[in-house]
Symmetry: D2
Subunit: 291 residues, 4 copies
C-alpha cells in the first residue's frame, strides 16, 4: 500500500479557482492526487489546503517543484490581501532528523525511541539533549548521541547557543521537547522555530507549574495533555493535538501523574506524527490538522 | 457565516486528473469551492470525493448542474473498470422531508423532533409511522401526522405497501428508524433504500435481539450504539456513525438500557445530520464519511 | 430489581473502626447492606462513605434513623479534629422536588423534562423560573408553573427574595440552573445552597463569558462541559461531573455551540442524577462521587 | 502517601451482616480500613467485596490471617446456597512474579518492561517465553531470561509441559500473554489458570483471526482492545478492561494495526495492574473490577 508521495501544504487568501489551479499544476506534470483536503476559513478569508500525489509518473524534478509552485503562486495567488501565500513541500521517502530534549522523566523518550525504531514514526534521531545526566543510559541502549547541557539562570544564553550549534551541525529538522521542563528563550525560538512540546495538562487549563497538583486540588473529573508548537509565549503556542482520561476521587496526585504519563506519550507521538507527515498548518495561533 | 452552497458527492474508478477536471468544471461556471475532500481507496482503485462550493456567483442553473456533470462524467470518468461513476447533488437551502418510524420508546423521537424544531437538523418531518399507538400524543404535541400501522406476520406485506404509499404521497426523502424494532422486507428496501436505523449495540457485537442483555451477560466494560443504512441483510448495513460509553459491574441491565438511550439519541442524530448534509458516501458495505 | 433502600452519606475524621460501627448499627437494626463504598483521604485524614441498605426488614422507624445515627456519631465519631462528622440520609422511595431555572435556551430544559417524565430521573418539577418569557410554552406543554422574573442590576435583590419565597412555598429541594446565565448573589447561596449549574466549558478552562468563542480562538481540539455546585465564587464550585467531545478546524463557533449542547444536556443530567441518588459528598472544594 | 496494606477480595452468598462481620474482624485485630467497596449482585444473590486496611497496627500475623478469615467464613458465611465463600488475600509490599509470553511483536513487551522498571507496575519479571527467537535482544537489553519454545501441532503438548515447569521453578504468579498469538490448551489452563491475555479487538466483536482486517472490511468507526482472563473457551474469558479509539475511512488496515497497538499496550497494562492490586473478582464469566 505504501506508495511514495509528495505533499503540499498551502495557505493563502481565498479566491476562486485555487483548487483548479493547483490540481491542474499537478495533473499537467503527470501527478495523480490520492488525497486532497481543501478548507476555507470564511471568517479569516483564508484558503487552507493539503494535497498528496503519487511521485511515480510525476515528471517535474523534485528540486524544481518548489520553484515551479512559487511561480504558480506568484501568477495566481498573491492578492491585495495582507495575507501572503505560504506553502510547504514534503516527500514521503525523506526521513526528517529530530532532536529529542529531555530532563529526568523517561516515559516519552522511551516511547518515541520505540516508535521510531519500529518505523511507526518515520524519522531519525540525530541527538538527545538534556539538562540532566540521568537518561544517558537509555541513549546508550539505543546508541544515540547524548548531550548533557545543564541550564542555570547564568549560563542559559550560552547553553542555548551550544544547543543551536548542535542542531545546525546535526541538520535537525524538528526539536521534540519530551518533558524537557525548561523554557526556551524567544531568541532561541526565533532562531529555531520547529519545536513541539508536550504539556501535561489540558491547555489552557492549569497553565504553568505542577498542573497535576492544580488539577487535583481543583477536583476535576478529567485530566488531559496537549501537544503544541512552542512560541515565545509560554504554554500558549498553536495546539496540534489533545486527549483526556477520566479520574476519580480515588486517584491521588501520584495516580494523576501516572495516568497522565500515558496521555503524554500518546498525545506527543500523535503530534509529532502529524507534523512529520506535513499535516499541520499553522495560521494565527490556531492549527489546521489534516487528519 | 451561513452561505448557500451546492455539494457534490462522487465516487468513480480512480484515474489521473479527476480533481482538476471537477474543479475546472466548477471554476468555469463561476463557483467558489469552500470545502473539498478527495480520498482514494488505493486497494479498491476508487476515487471518492465531496466538494462544496458557494452558489452565489455560480452561473449554471441548478436544474442543469446534474446533467452537465453527467456529461463531464461521460467524457472523462467512465473507464474500462467495472465500477461506474456515481454522484449525488445537494443544495444547502433545500429542506429534505423525513419520516420518523417508532415503536413504543420515545427518547429518539423526542430528541429528533427537538433538533429539527431548533433548526439543528435541517429537515421537515412529513409524518410519523408506528406499529403502536403509544407515541401519538407526542406527534400531537409537535403537530405532526401520526400513522398507526400495526404489523403482524400476516399483514406485513400490505402494511408495507401502505407505508410506501404514505412515503410517496408525502414526498419523503429519508426514513429514520428511531427504535422502530421491526425488520423491513427486502422488497421494501428495494423500493425505498434511503433508510437509516439506530442499532442499540456496538455492531457487529451483539447482533440481533436484546443486545443490552447480551452485553450484560458477556460482562463487557463498554457499550455502544450504531447508526447504519438499512440493507436486506439485518444489522449488516453500511455503518455511518458509532459511539460508546463505559459501564461497570454496578450497572444492571436497566442501567445499560438507560445509558444506551443517550448513546442512541446522539449517534442517530449524528448519522442523520451527516446524511442530510450529503457527507456519506457508500461503497461496497463501507461508508466514507466526510466529517 | 428495584428495592427500596436507605442511603447514608457520611464524612468525618478518620479513625479505626468506623466501618465496623456503622455496619453494626445497620445490622443491629435488621438492615441488609447492598452497596457500600468507604474511602479514606489519607492526606486530609478524612473518612468518606456511602452506604445503601434495604429498608425491608429494617426495624428502626425512618424518623428515628437520623437521630439514632446522630447519637452513634456523638458517641464514636467526634474527635479532637477540627473536622466534624457530617451525614445525609436519603430514601429511594422519596421523590425530591426540583426547580429548573432557565434563560432563553431550551435544550437542557427539554432534556430534563423528558428524563423526569420518563422516570429516568426520580424527581418532581415544582416550578420553572426564568428571566425571560421565551420558554413558557414548554412549561405549558408539560403543564408546569412558569415564573417570569426579569433580572436587572436594580431589581436583583428583590427578585432573589421572590425566588427564595417561591422555592420555600413549593418546598424545593434542589435548584437546577439549566443555562440560566445569571449569577446568584452570595446572600442567595447562603440562604439556599443546593444549586447545581451546568457550565459550558471544561472548567477551569474558559472561565467566564462566551467559553465557546474562547475555545475557538484558542484553537483547542476538545471542548467540554462541567456540572458543579454553585458557590459564592463564580465558576469555582465543587465539580460533580465533566465530559468532553472532539472538535476540528472544520468546526465554526456555531458548531462548537451545537456540539456543546449535547454535552451540556448529558453532563447536567448526570450531575443531577448523582445528586438525587445521594452519591455526591462535598469536602473542601472537591467532591467524592460514589458512582 | 504509600502505606503498606492488606487487601481482601471476597465473594459469597449474600446475607445480612457480612459487612459488619468482616469489618469487626479487621477492627478487632487493630486494622484500620482505608478503602472498602461492597457490592451485591441482587440477581445472583451474591455479595462481592474488596477491603483494604493498613498493616501498621494490625496485630494478627500475616500467615494467620488467611486461616483466621477461613474460620470467620466457616462460622458465618457458608449457607445452604450452592455458592461457597471465596476469598483472596494480597499484601501491598509483596512483589508478584510474572512471566511475559510473546511472539514477534514487541510493543506490549517494551511497554510492560518499562512500566515494571519504572515501578509503575509492582512486579518482577521472572522470565519471557516465546515461540520465536525475535525478541531475545529485548530480553537481554533488560537482562531477563528468554526461553524460545517453538510450538507445532506435534510438539505442543510437551512444550506446554516445559512451560509449566518453567513457571513452577520460577514461582510465577501470573502469566501475561503480550501478543503471544497462540492458543493454550485446556490442560494448561487447568494447571495454571492465572493468565491474562490482550485481544486486539473490542470483544465480542471480531472474535478469532485478523480482527483488524475484519474491522476494516466491516467498516466500523471505532476499534478496541480487550484484556481478559484466559479460559478454555477461546476469546470468551472474563473481561477485565476494554478501551477504544476512533478510526475513519482514511485509515488503512495498517493504520488500524498501528492505532490498535497503543490500545493494546494501555489496556493490557491496566488489566495487569488491576489484577496485581487484587482488584478483580471473577464470578461466572463476569468480573467485578474494584477500580
Amino acid at each position: 500500500m505504501a506508495v511514495d508521495t509528495a505533499t503540499l501544504l498551502v495557505s493563502c487568501p481565498d479566491q476562486q479557482g485555487l483548487v483548479a489551479k493547483i490540481a491542474n499544476f499537478i495533473y499537467a506534470n503527470g501527478g495523480n492526487i490520492i488525497h486532497a483536503d481543501h478548507h476555507t476559513d470564511l471568517e479569516a478569508g483564508l484558503f487552507l489546503s493539503r494535497i498528496e500525489w503519487q511521485l511515480q509518473g510525476f515528471n517535474l524534478p523534485r528540486h524544481l517543484i518548489n520553484e515551479a509552485f512559487g511561480e504558480l503562486a506568484q501568477r495566481h495567488f498573491v492578492t491585495a490581501s495582507p495575507l501572503q501565500a505560504k506553502w510547504k513541500l514534503h516527500f514521503s521517502d525523506t526521513v526528517p532528523k529530530v532532536a529529542i530534549w529531555v530532563s529526568k522523566q523517561d516515559h516519552c523518550l522511551y516511547d518515541l525511541l520505540w516508535r521510531i525504531k519500529s518505523k511507526e514514526l518515520k524519522a531519525e534521531v540525530g541527538l538527545i539533549i538534556s539538562n540532566h545526566p540521568d537518561l544517558d543510559p537509555i541513549a546508550q541502549q539505543f546508541n544515540i548521541e547524548y548531550h548533557h547541557l545543564p541550564i542555570t539562570k547564568e549560563n542559559k544564553k550560552e547553553q542555548e547557543l551550544k544547543q543551536l550549534e548542535l542542531l545546525k551541525n546535526a541538520e535537525i529538522d524538528l526539536v521534540i521537547l519530551a518533558k524537557y521542563m525548561q523554557v526556551l528563550s524567544s531568541d532561541f525560538i526565533k532562531e529555531f522555530p520547529a519545536v513541539i512540546n508536550i504539556h501535561h495538562s489540558f491547555l489552557p487549563a492549569f497553565i504553568g507549574a505542577k498542573p497535576y497538583h492544580q488539577a487535583y486540588s481543583r477536583g476535576v473529573k478529567i485530566i488531559g495533555a496537549t501537544a503544541h508548537y512552542v512560541t515565545q509565549d509560554l504554554d500558549a503556542g498553536p495546539i496540534i493535538e489533545q486527549d483526556v482520561v477520566r479520574i476519580s476521587h480515588r486517584d491521588t496526585v501520584q495516580d494523576l501523574i501516572r495516568k497522565g504519563k500515558d496521555l503524554e506519550k500518546i498525545v506527543l507521538a500523535r503530534g509529532v506524527r502529524l507534523h512529520l507527515q506535513n499535516r499541520v498548518l499553522v495560521y494565527g495561533n490556531r492549527t489546521v490538522v489534516f487528519g
